[in-house]
Amino acid sequence: MNTMALPGTHPVTQKLTSNLTIIVPAFNEVEIIADTIKSLQFQTMPAAEIIVVDDCSTDGTGDIARAYGVTVVRPPTNTGSKAGAQNYALELVTTNLTMAIDADTILAPDAIEILLRALDDPEVVAACGSVLPRHVHTLWERGRYIEYLLAFTFYKPIQEYYEKPLISSGCFSVYRTEVLRNNQGWNRRTMAEDMDLTWTFYQAGHKVRFVPEAVCYPIEPHSFPFMRRQLKRWSHGFIQNVQLHWRGILNVPCLRSLVGVAMWDAVVASLAYLFLIPLLAILTGNPWFLLGYLIDIPAVIIPVVYAAIARRELGQALTSLPSFFILRLVNSIFILEALWTEMVLHRQLKVYEKGH
């Protein structure tokens, strides 16, 4: 990652071409957009075109992107969401494949080459890779790091094995352009446009793949205010997608069980963490009930340690483990808030707030 050239020079690894356009939506990303573009230009299989959507930034993001020789487009007004910015650029795509990358996300040098192999199967319309936080310093980054290690080592490979990855992550996914256009691009009706798109594809009979070897590194929220915005968006997005798609996904084998169990687990676990466990401990005067917060450590630690050893990050993983349980508790608050607001009060979250 650190062997990248200066603006205007050509990557030495540019040996292959691909029928791929990468869309990078960006709003006030002046501090990080350069790293993102460089990581895209230094791929073992670089894209035919990189389009940065400067979504009416006020900090010169577009100028920085232009200096690196990529296409920069700027809508007349701020589109208001990542999906809006991506759709703006989708109209300009001329290649068969379109990739969406978040402006705060860099890729491993071979990520695109590995990910595109999934689309050798003509039935596959979208594919995504593994995600790991670029920085692991604060409590929130550490908690998210463990969440990612757990999910991308155990849960997501199982979803992939049964050909139903729950979501093709919006921070790093590739799509067949024609199918994406037929879907009118990324829909803005929910706060989780990537989940909406993935479930829409399944209902249309398409295949989506998860390729664990293709790795990306986004910048995760480093403080609670930023984490709050992201969790609010994700929680509401999940509930909105369940409300929107539940009838449709009932007829998609495996996916219906994955979503149903996820929904049940999220709600029941949240109620247990926030109400049942503390109430039992207080009412009975028995502090042993508080072990309920940690009772599943063995279920968490095995996949995490396996992944950490493979990445030679065992120390970092073990010291980050406590943060996971704190983040999970915070997740509970947001999922219950989203459930209450969306399903009981019928007040839909419509304002897209950036995570950083």
């Binding site: 199982i158 009932l250 149903g260 687990d265 949240s270 502090p287 042993w288 063995p298 095995i302 999970r328």
Partner: protein, 125 residues
């Protein structure tokens, strides 16, 4: 269970069961000529993790029931009513603790199937 969503309860159990079903599924694919060494290797990794989770859960329960002295539990809590040691005295095998979530998971999966049947029944032809 998934990033941003809390819980590893019945969700975790669901994924362990799905992992344990992989070899049978893969064996069917092998007979059909649709498998290969790479796929079996991935199945093996998931089996290892799944059995590792089961083993560590078992080990934790065993630790709680056998190594923590009852006296310590009583002195800390003033009661043994919900301690792990009392479970052993009541004759509850540690494995039962791990199986408590299984009926719940089955009910949830059956409810989903019921919703699917009802939804398809209601759908206009």
């Amino acid at each position: 269970m998934n990033v941003g969503l809390p819980g590893t309860g019945i969700g975790g159990l669901f994924y362990i069961i799905m992992a344990l079903m992989m070899p049978f599924h893969e064996a069917v694919l092998t007979i059909r000529g649709q498998s290969n060494w790479t796929r079996w290797r991935k199945v093996g990794v998931m089996q290892g993790i799944a059995f590792g989770i089961i083993g560590s859960l078992w080990g934790t329960v065993w630790l709680l029931t056998n190594l923590i002295p009852t006296d310590l539990v009583e002195s800390l809590t003033g009661s043994t009513s919900f301690s792990a040691s009392s479970l052993t005295r009541l004759g509850v095998p540690p494995a039962m603790l791990g199986l408590l979530a299984l009926p719940t998971l089955l009910v949830v999966l059956l409810a989903i199937e019921g919703m699917r049947l009802q939804n398809n029944h209601r759908r206009p032809t």
